[in-house]
Symmetry: C2
Subunit: 317 residues, 2 copies
């Protein structure tokens, strides 16, 4: 499901660190060399390279990247090189700082990561910011949105396969009742969405669909401009069909006049090692154009090369 490709024979972290140093030091930076290394190492390998690099050259690799590279290429490479938990903590922290209702990064992190990975991100947040993530979310984001988010970022969902069908039926009815009453911000709605295991929630939403004739996200579109309803729909999409959620983020980012590089960068950096193949498949199905082609049309230079490398479609020409 990942698109990351790692060569059969991987150099040692010492060799990789040395090559990276060379790429920075020459006459002009050698971006191709940097991509050929970092875009083809998994999280554990990148971590080892970063450690060896600091040890050997007395400078954090991320700092060297920051000094040598610029703009979107740099942002993507730094985000990609980061340890996944630190990356999530960094993205979450940025999101709490400049919150707009349409910024869904926090939802995305809370709902598409495994329970354990979300916990690792919370631990990394402690280390990086000397605070807890829920502390910042609760402090900076208010209203129903904030309530939902605090719930979501603090959750530690059960991940087993068990489904309680009686409960699913009850809770499908509860959801239906509050949606019909136009009370989608009801505590019970938030509780069910924010605490049930993804498997249990999926069962509940299937029953909802069967019993009441519509997928819940259709019923949550009564007012397409309502920001809270939009957040609820995203939450449900992230929890039940993350590949569709990410496909849409990519589609909107690419179709936007001028491209939303922030979103494109974030999705590729966070999903290349997880489920990017699935997302790219979904993209082609929905947009009738392969993701790599859309990226080639919309981006250029080293940024384009790195994106293609990470989605497993390196341009060898």
């Amino acid at each position: 499901m990942a698109t990351l490709t790692v060569p059969a024979h991987v150099p040692t972290p010492y060799e990789d660190a040395e090559q990276l140093k060379k790429a920075f030091d020459g006459w002009g930076t050698n971006e191709k060399l940097i991509i050929s290394i970092l875009a083809h190492r998994n999280a554990a390998q990148r971590k080892a390279i970063r450690e060896v690099y600091t040890e050997t050259y007395g400078e954090d690799l991320l700092k060297s990247l920051d000094k040598e590279l610029t703009s979107d290429f740099e942002s993507l490479l730094v985000l990609w090189t980061l340890d996944p938990a630190q990356r999530d903590a960094t993205l979450a922290n940025r999101a709490t700082k400049k919150w707009t209702a349409s910024n869904q990064v926090l939802l995305e992190i809370a709902c598409t990561r495994s329970s354990h990975d979300l916990f690792l991100a919370r631990q990394a947040y402690h280390c990086l910011y000397k605070k807890s993530i829920e502390e910042d979310v609760a402090h900076h984001i208010t209203g129903d949105f904030g309530k939902l988010l605090v719930f979501l970022v603090a959750s530690f969902r059960y991940e087993g396969p068990e489904v309680n069908t009686t409960l699913a039926k009850q809770e499908a009815k509860i959801l239906r009742k509050h949606i019909t009453d136009n009370a989608c911000n009801h505590d019970e709605v938030l509780r069910i969405i924010a605490t049930r295991s993804k498997t249990q929630l999926n069962a509940t939403l299937n029953i909802y669909n069967n019993e009441f004739g519509n997928a819940i996200n259709k019923d949550l579109k009564s007012d397409p401009k309502d920001e809270f309803l939009r957040a609820l729909r995203s939450t449900i999409k992230c929890l039940t069909t993350p590949e569709k959620y990410f496909e849409k983020v990519l589609r909107l980012a690419i179709n936007k006049t001028g491209t939303d590089e922030g979103a494109l960068t974030r999705v590729v950096a966070t999903r290349a090692e997880v489920d990017m193949k699935h997302i790219a498949g979904e993209y082609q199905r929905r947009s009738s154009i392969p993701l790599e082609k859309a990226i080639v049309n919309d981006t250029h230079g080293d940024y384009e090369d790195l994106l293609l490398a990470l989605i497993g479609c390196e341009n060898d020409a």
Copy 2:
């Protein structure tokens, strides 16, 4: 700070398991032998004994204890023998099942454990009950109380020494405002209490005390019968002076006509390895009688012997 005493030379888990088996098998159970072993082993040692016991005799040690022992002695020994995270998960689960407003076990677990230990309890809850703790709390406990509790059990507080004094001043004012307005269930009050690090909260409450002339818990007593205010006071006590909180639980348990063995058992089993010395000191200061004397006056038999062993005051007579 712990009262648990472990001998200088500890037998191997194999030897301990064998002795326990002997204690169960003889003509009548040998309770003294059981106490002499289990009451003097730390969590890691008890875990090793339990593993070896299952391996060797094909039965969980806890099951053997359950078959051989009875009543309060059994309850205390089983609770004590459990791994701390499993113990917390077990106590929490019982509390979600029969909830009464005065049942403060969930608050206690959420607020007196370290962030990491609370997380371990959440993990153990997954394993034991195939659900998350916040899922059960949110499902079974409603109202302001439930809201507070979900917040608390899901928290992962930062534990560093940093204090932001500006923030502490702001939040002391926010707390004061809502308390004065009789709106102690305000989201902002819950947010501050449930998400700030214990060190930060302590600074805020010190400023509150200095600026407004009363300790916050005094101001939260406007209606002594209000259950939610009572829960808030307990929460604050658990977060800032856990030894005083536990001292009071012990005092009420012992002073009650008939003794509240459940509470006595819980506090001794959960604190003997943590801060029982501190709690016992507080008890003597507050009740003018040493805790061991109060226990001798109020309990008897093997239960008494085990309690005394765990609080480090074995009766050698």
